[in-house]
């Protein structure tokens, strides 16, 4: 029962050359496993170019929701489409809980994985540019096993961006990193995803407050979406930004109250 009645980001925030990315419309979505209802009548509208953070306790159905939006899982009822009325298939890039780098491919091959899988010509210039941006230039021939956790996540971000998809879905992609690395990667992700519509699942209120334009809590059995909390200012917000600290406290309180 949620619609975020927020205007899309001003056009100036996006390069004029690029089309505005589609938003996401989730309509009356339900997911049931046998007798158990994970959620039903779930409605959510994400406007073009917005960064939404979705929070909730583990097992509440966040990942399932994301997988349904990504087209990786089938809902029991309802549907998901772009705000332009077209299906989202082929317009979504997905980052999972693990970096999911293929261990037999080196960094560059992992970044250009999409082209490999679709038998397209590999855009080396684009890959070079992305590797440069995520700070992995010169490491492109290393195997994932030779990378640190932060570097692996950087490679995963580059792989996501290589796809040039207007919508990016992220399922706790930074949860396995140490606090410092996480902070750096969050900044990187926020900077690189400004042109995309993004939905980030996280269990970390700080992460949500630093990156999200709107924060939404998914809670309960069956799960429902809470009122969105809207934050001003462009992400990544500083960790000691008063607004971040305040919303973080508020979020944590909401989450713990809901959990009781």
């Amino acid at each position: 029962m949620n619609a975020i009645s927020q205007q899309p980001l001003p056009a100036t925030a996006m390069p004029a050359s690029r089309k505005a990315p589609p938003g996401i419309v989730v309509k009356d979505l339900a997911l049931r496993y046998g007798q158990q209802t994970i959620f039903e009548h779930l409605n959510l509208e994400i406007h073009s170019g917005e960064f939404i953070a979705l929070l909730g306790a583990s097992g509440v159905g966040k990942s399932s929701l994301l997988k349904i939006i990504a087209g990786l899982a089938v809902p029991s009822a309802g549907n998901v489409m772009g705000s332009d009325g077209l299906p989202l298939a082929g317009r979504i890039a997905y980052m999972g809980q693990q970096d999911l780098l293929y261990p037999w491919l080196n960094v560059r091959q992992n970044v250009t994985l999409g082209a490999r899988l679709r038998r397209e010509k590999i855009d080396d210039a684009w890959a070079d540019h992305l590797l440069e941006q995520v700070g992995l230039a010169g490491r492109d021939s290393l195997l994932p096993a030779a990378l640190s956790g932060g570097m692996r996540q950087r490679a995963a971000i580059a792989r996501t961006l290589y796809e040039r998809r207007p919508i990016v879905l992220m399922d706790e992609p930074f949860s396995a990193l140490d606090a410092l690395t996480r902070a750096k990667i969050q900044e990187l992700a926020a900077e690189l995803l400004t042109d995309c519509t993004a939905l980030l699942i996280t269990h970390d209120p700080l992460e949500a407050c630093r990156l999200g334009r709107h924060l939404i809590v998914l809670a309960g059995h069956p799960a429902t979406l809470g009122e969105p909390i809207t934050l001003d200012g462009l992400p990544p917000r500083a960790p000691d930004n008063p607004q971040v600290l305040q919303s973080q406290g508020r979020l944590l309180r909401i989450l713990t109250e809901l959990h009781q």
Partner: protein, 253 residues
């Protein structure tokens, strides 16, 4: 230096074994039961044409058995992977086929396929395909679902998914299957030759045994062992090359 050291180790072991063998022959063990290393070396040399002829026969049986066993194992695993219905029917058959000792089939195979190489190749194939099928199928099935989902969001079709994700992810298991296959392949060929054949090292050994030419028997055994070791080593090296990304903790000096 370290490399040299490692390479020389098998030679040292071999020399040690030779020495022990020689020491035993110095006791009162009669020569027709245990020939000296020197007698065997002589037998190897004088019988070189005869032995190499039969060596090549056994080698080709093993090579063909490996080829068909691997091929059959891979095809079966892929079939079961992509057709759950066929898998339900094939799996019991596979397990039953392994419950019957393959050696018990050897006389029948020789009866049906003759004394030539065909029966031995089939023996070796039968022995090899199962570990390959089982391990490869296991690897294919256990591909990380996250990798598959990622490929799916990148619009990979079935073929790309198989080639770039499943096959690669199954390679470590397949490698284990290959190693087992290489180790058991000679058994199939030799058993086949023992039951009935007109050539091969198994035939040579049986023949020499019957004539109490123990040194020829030893010579054949030596060649067989050499072949088996080289085979296992070759497979091991190629599996390592194939699995360049898998950390190998056993590879300590």
């Amino acid at each position: 230096m370290n490399r040299l050291h490692r390479a020389s180790r098998p030679l040292i072991i071999f020399a040690g074994l030779l020495l022990i063998w020689y020491a035993v022959t110095l006791t009162s063990v009669p020569n027709y039961l245990l020939p000296t290393p020197l007698t065997v070396a002589k037998a190897l040399w004088t019988g070189r044409v005869y032995l190499s002829h039969h060596f090549l026969i056994t080698l080709s049986e093993i090579a063909m058995g490996l080829f068909f066993g691997l091929l059959m194992g891979m095809l079966l695993a892929l079939t079961m992977m992509y057709s759950p219905r066929l898998q339900q029917w094939l799996m019991p058959v596979l397990i039953i086929s392994q419950a019957i000792p393959v050696f018990a089939l050897a006389p029948l195979l020789v009866l049906w396929l003759g004394f030539g190489m065909a029966s031995k190749v089939v023996m070796a194939t039968l022995i090899i395909f199962f570990p390959v099928t089982a391990s490869f199928f296991d690897g294919l099935k256990r591909t990380d679902p996250g990798w598959l989902e990622l490929a799916q969001t990148m619009n990979a079709d079935g073929l790309a998914e198989l080639r770039h994700v499943r096959l690669m992810a199954a390679l470590p298991s397949f490698g284990s299957g290959m190693r087992v296959a290489a180790a058991v392949a000679p058994i199939g060929a030799i058993i086949g030759e023992w039951v009935g054949s007109s050539g091969g090292l198994g035939y040579v050994m049986l023949n020499a045994n019957a004539r109490v030419q123990t040194e020829v028997c030893f010579a054949a055994l030596f060649l067989l062992a050499l072949m088996a070791i080289v085979l296992v080593q070759l497979v091991d090296i190629s599996v390592r090359k194939l699995l360049y990304w898998v950390p190998d903790s056993s590879n300590t000096r």
